[in-house]
Amino acid sequence: MTIIRKPSDIKSSDITPEAVYRDRRRFLREALAATAAGVSGSLWPAAGEAGQKLFNLKKGPYSTDEKPTPLEYVTGYNNFYEFGTDKGDPARLAQNFRSVPWTLAVEGEVKKPAAYHIEDLLRHHPLQERIYRLRCVEAWSMVVPWVGFPLRDLLQRVEPNSRAKYVEFTTLYDPKQMPGQKPGLFGSGLDWPYVEGLRLDEAMHPLTLLVVGLYGEVLPNQNGAPIRLVVPWKYGFKSIKSIVKIRLVEQQPLTTWMKAGPREYGFYSNVNPLVDHPRWSQASERRIGEDALFSPKRKTLMFNGYADQVASLYTGMDLKKYF
């Protein structure tokens, strides 16, 4: 009988990997949650904090095979004016943003209005990963592996009535937490809270996502935690962040950017290389983290490359007029 075992007696399978050992509490919590979530398939970590791993992600449809933009750029180069107008501001100033607990209200022209805690919401909606192109109105682009579920699945649950023609989204208004919303000397020039909108058929399109994560982890605050919209064929500002309210309405909503610059930002804001921003060209774009300093910009694609999926939504429409 060996009391003191020699190293050769210990099977390698008995050894807990160091990473797991060091992170055992988190491992236990996550393993437990993974079991609990077994039925619905997806999993939301109990704390719901940015950077926590998401498990049991399905690979969703429509993913591009282009190279995803490095995480440091996806999380470090952000337009999220609630935290400041410099692209580095959100990463710095959103660190202490409280995205937990969070309630999302779905209301308006629906048969079953509801307010959901994020964790309850996700129990009903299995999460999937979708790698989408993101085209900013400022003529740069990224490729982001989002984690979320189709907006249509949520809208169907609340049963829009026959008056529901548009969907209006509203971001949290909380100047204490969102310094960009404080009235400054000149301010950002935007009206708060941030409001965006889609036509109902756009909102119901299978490409349109509600997103709670990226790169397989809980969404970082600067990217719109805890829940944001992603509409990949429209300019990035349509993909509203940190949503507290989704309202189905009869009239076309007046969005924040339409109010700020009606000549420059239309309701549709579909990515369109043929319709320039009044002040700059939209014909080409720079891919963040990939295009080298001296490489020419790449051509912007109609509907950001999603024309096959969405062009039929706009048949017969003059896209110059409805920009």
């Binding site: 180069y77 004016y81 002040r279 001296f294």
Partner: protein
Amino acid sequence: MLDKNQKIRWLFKPALFVLALVPLAVLVQKGVDNNLGANPVETINRFTGDWVLRFLLIALAVTPLRRLSGWNVLLRFRRMAGLFAFFYVSLHFLSYAWLDQSFVLPDIVKDVAKRPYITVGFACFLMLIPLAATSTAGMIRRLGARRWQRLHRLVYLVGIGGIVHYLWLVKSDITQPLIYGAILALLLGFRLRDRLRERPARASAVAETAR
């Protein structure tokens, strides 16, 4: 022992020259370190543009500061500030034409003609060329002080154009261009005030002699 002129020539001017190159050195270092951020072209373009405005404001601050402080020596550094504004505007334009537009001439021509903020910026760049070209003592002599001075008043227009260029480029937050604009307004306002004060004085002096 160096006399005052020698000190300016061999100490202060070289020191300021090196100092004015520090922004470029910082930019190059960032480039070498691969530290230009997510959008290096934008970083380079904004960085050089900022320094054009700063050097323009420094050059335009010389006269008011000299008047207020009585330090006439400041005048000896004005040309250098102006030439560095031209140096950085050249880099700014080069970064646009090369990095942003890849030297595709038809695109550049279209852009300059079609985009008001680029039109204004390009016009300012063009206006700075004769000013830089006539910055030497020889050119001042050849033009004559009066004509030279009249030509170089173009810099006021360039300053205003530079602010407009910046203002028309930002999406919604106009804080930065307004700060630069406020400083410019102060510097130009000082000259205007001097003018308005001088004129009645001169007029009465003329009346005095006529009597």
